[in-house]
């Protein structure tokens, strides 16, 4: 089953530094909001962990809370990679859902 990725990513190498920009489609529900129609609390559903690896080596890990905005954006930088290297970004949320994407560094 092919699923549309929840992650859009750009990884650009310039002067030895790779800058990654990633946008994740995710509701980041705090668990504090109520459904306007039913009055019921919308359950918390938010990304808790983010990780990025390049060539199997960890670049960054993040623990994320409910105060990160809906459709979270992350950008970070690292050295030591080369053009064409494969970068893998993954997230998991509090309900156990997860997604991952790979991208080549340009």
């Amino acid at each position: 089953m092919s699923k549309k990725s929840s992650i859009k990513i750009r990884a650009k190498l310039k002067n030895g530094v790779t800058t990654v920009k990633a946008l994740v489609r995710h509701p980041m529900e705090t668990g504090l909001r109520k459904d306007k129609k039913t009055g019921k609390v919308i359950p918390a559903k938010f990304i808790q962990n983010l990780s990025c690896e390049v060539n199997g080596k960890k670049v960054i890990n993040g623990q994320i809370g409910v105060a990160v905005s809906k459709n979270p954006y992350f950008s970070f930088k690292f050295e030591g990679a080369n053009s064409g290297d494969e970068l893998k970004l993954a997230w998991t949320d509090n309900t156990g859902k997860s997604d991952t994407t790979t991208s080549k560094i340009k």
């Binding site: 990780s51 670049v59 623990q63 105060a67 990160v68 905005s69 950008s75 970070f76 156990g96």
Partner: protein
């Protein structure tokens, strides 16, 4: 918490088992820890203790927080933290007046630059606090972001 306890608890809820069997979980990330105590803390002091082990932090001019003076949208406030401090282990971002101040914590190693950019929710005017843990010490910087109703400009 250790792996066995974790699996027991999540199997009880069924969530992880289901996720694991549907192939959605990426091996290696299942057991990533999430600092519940720190994220649930309702005040800065407890959130700091939970996130970086202590609420004793030193102000540092070597931490730069880029965030708007006035937020264009309180639900989506871009925050970028960078520092020239060496050997950074973690950067933690807090929004002082949020119900639970800890927003996120990122850990770095030798090849990653101590730089992180994300977007955060702010319900009202508050300081964004960035805490850098490096060399066993905690350093912080603050930046006030105004969250306004808007509308009356010029």
């Amino acid at each position: 918490m250790n792996r066995r306890v974790f699996l027991q608890r999540s199997l009880a809820s069924g969530a992880v088992a289901l996720a694991a069997s549907s192939g959605l979980l990426v091996p290696g990330t299942v057991l990533a820890s999430w600092n519940k105590a720190a994220f649930d803390a309702k005040d800065m002091a407890s959130a700091l203790k939970g996130a970086v082990g202590s609420d004793s932090v030193e102000e540092s001019a070597d931490i730069k927080i880029k965030a708007p003076d006035i937020a264009e949208n309180g639900a989506v406030v871009p925050v970028t933290v960078s520092t020239t401090i060496k050997d950074v282990k973690t950067i933690s971002i807090f929004s002082e007046k949020n119900g639970t101040p800890l927003v996120a914590q990122f850990d770095f190693d030798s090849s990653s630059q101590p730089f992180i950019s994300t977007r955060i929710k702010m319900g009202k005017t508050s300081n964004v606090v960035a805490v850098v843990n490096a060399g066993g010490k905690n350093y912080q910087a603050k930046k006030e972001v105004k969250v306004t109703i808007g509308g009356c400009g010029g």
